[in-house]
Symmetry: C2
Subunit: 256 residues, 2 copies
């Protein structure tokens, strides 16, 4: 059955989508069958893979709120072994509309159960909040990867995120575990980056990934071409870092 | 009565907090009485101003959910003419708890009415979402400033944000208007930044601020010292940009 991994952090702009998309493409290229679930109403993962949101029949909103079977919402991308469940702006309504729905936290978990056997890995890109969309992702996932930007303000919310993960683990999903913490946007020109890495290493001594993703303009340029870094500039510093990260993911997930 | 300005954008990490804090300190130094409202459960504006969250008696959560008078939640900072209503992680609960509260969108507007006459400007820092905390800020505000990062993924959500602002204007707060759009984290090393600025200029021809804030490490370092850029490094490129922006804000708000 698929390894289901959520990319979560309520701090905005820390590299959740970039990490999800980069890893999805690399794992699919390595031969694994990958499903990418875009659980962020901004739909950045959807557009980073070059999909046209207007052309989609069903999206994650239909699955969570209208009970449409997730198999019907799975869109094939033009990359072999990589499928996507897309998000559109309407998904923003789910945060409020789900509040009064029975089993509201389990909607995504139940939906994914239908297709999990068709994939080796499912990656869920979360929005920058700890609302019901992220809780759904954490309830559906067995693992969570926490991207943390190497900046001071990004440290602040980590405690709150860990508390939320523990809460989901205790009440909704006992098998959830923090697969690792990925440091992103490391800028060698400032001591601040090193200080943040050291602080996080103290907080998560065994879980911090060896790979540290540098700040690299090529990573910001890639989505404007609908490409992941592996397709846009694989040998850039950002491209090499995400290759190394994908290798670490294969190891930690014990993918065959 | 105070000019109430919300800093809003559901895209994460675009510079909402940095813009709110930089502007608050500069306006207070220019002689205006300023209230900063931190409406983000991450509490980045609270810590960027160097306040200790453990030492606060009341916070925004108490005002929105328990009906505590906002005057009791106002904390003085060590900067003359600059007060703050702080946020702590518990505020994250408000997004769900407010759903069933009567007049849920108007809680902040009603609370601010009590103290608006004591200030020239109120700045509200929003979380990276379009949930009830941001809707409360947009309902309380007369103006909204939209920081937009000069990167491709940041363009995607702008349409959705404008739709939400229009919705609030039509249903909840007819006096709401977009004061302007501030381009942030401009990186001269990539054509992408210029392309994004041109795209936004086409979308908001009259509202884009003349100031474009460059990407500058000093801005990321300042909050780790509990200082705004004006206090940490006023003559850095980021410091000069935010000084120019504060001047534009004084003009557009017609502050005496
Ligand atoms: N290592 C990096 N170096 C430089 N730019 C990066 C890097 N990683 C991501 N970016 C860029 O920074 C911005 C934020 O990254 P991204 O959108 O992946 O973060 P996010 O956590 O998904 O944001 P949100 O909280 O809004 O969902 C994007 O424009 C992205 O292209
Ligand atoms: N112009 C800039 N140049 C470089 N770094 C910046 C700039 N503006 C802000 N930063 C840094 O980038 C990060 C994101 O900025 P900030 O936290 O202000 O964004 P935000 O929109 O408030 O994020 P969130 O969506 O999480 O609330 C912070 O670490 C901040 O210090
Ligand atoms: Mg994202
Ligand atoms: Mg912020």
């Amino acid at each position: 059955v698929a390894a289901i991994v959520a990319l979560a952090n309520q701090k905005g702009g820390v590299g959740k989508t970039t990490t999800a998309v980069s890893t999805a493409v690399l794992l699919a290229r390595a031969g694994y069958r990958v499903l990418m679930v875009d659980a962020d109403p901004q739909g950045n993962a959807t557009s980073s893979l070059g999909l046209d949101k207007q052309a989609l029949l069903y999206t994650l909103y239909d699955v969570l709120l209208d009970g449409v079977g997730i198999a019907r919402a799975v869109a094939v991308t033009d990359r072999p072994r990589l499928d996507l469940v897309a998000a559109t702006p309407g998904l923003a309504g789910a945060e409020v509309e789900l509040v009064t729905v029975p089993e509201r936290e389990h909607r995504l978990a139940r939906a994914l159960a239908e297709v999990a056997d068709r994939y080796d890995v499912v990656l869920i890109d979360c929005p920058p909040s700890l609302g019901l969309l992220t809780v759904n992702a954490l309830t559906a996932a067995r693992h969570v990867v926490i991207p943390i930007q190497c900046e001071f303000l990004a440290l602040e919310g980590v405690g709150q995120l860990v508390t939320s993960i523990d809460l989901v683990k205790r009440r909704l999903n006992p098998s959830l575990d923090v697969l690792g913490v990925l440091m992103t946007m490391f800028d060698a020109r400032t001591r601040l980056s090193t200080q943040v890495v050291e602080e996080v290493r103290r907080f998560f001594p065994e879980r911090i990934f060896a790979t540290i993703v540098p700040r690299s303009i090529r990573l910001a340029e890639a989505p404007s071409f609908g490409q992941s870094i592996a397709e846009y500039d694989a040998t850039s510093r950002g491209g090499l870092a995400y290759r190394a990260f994908a290798e670490e993911m294969i190891g930690r997930l014990r993918l065959r």
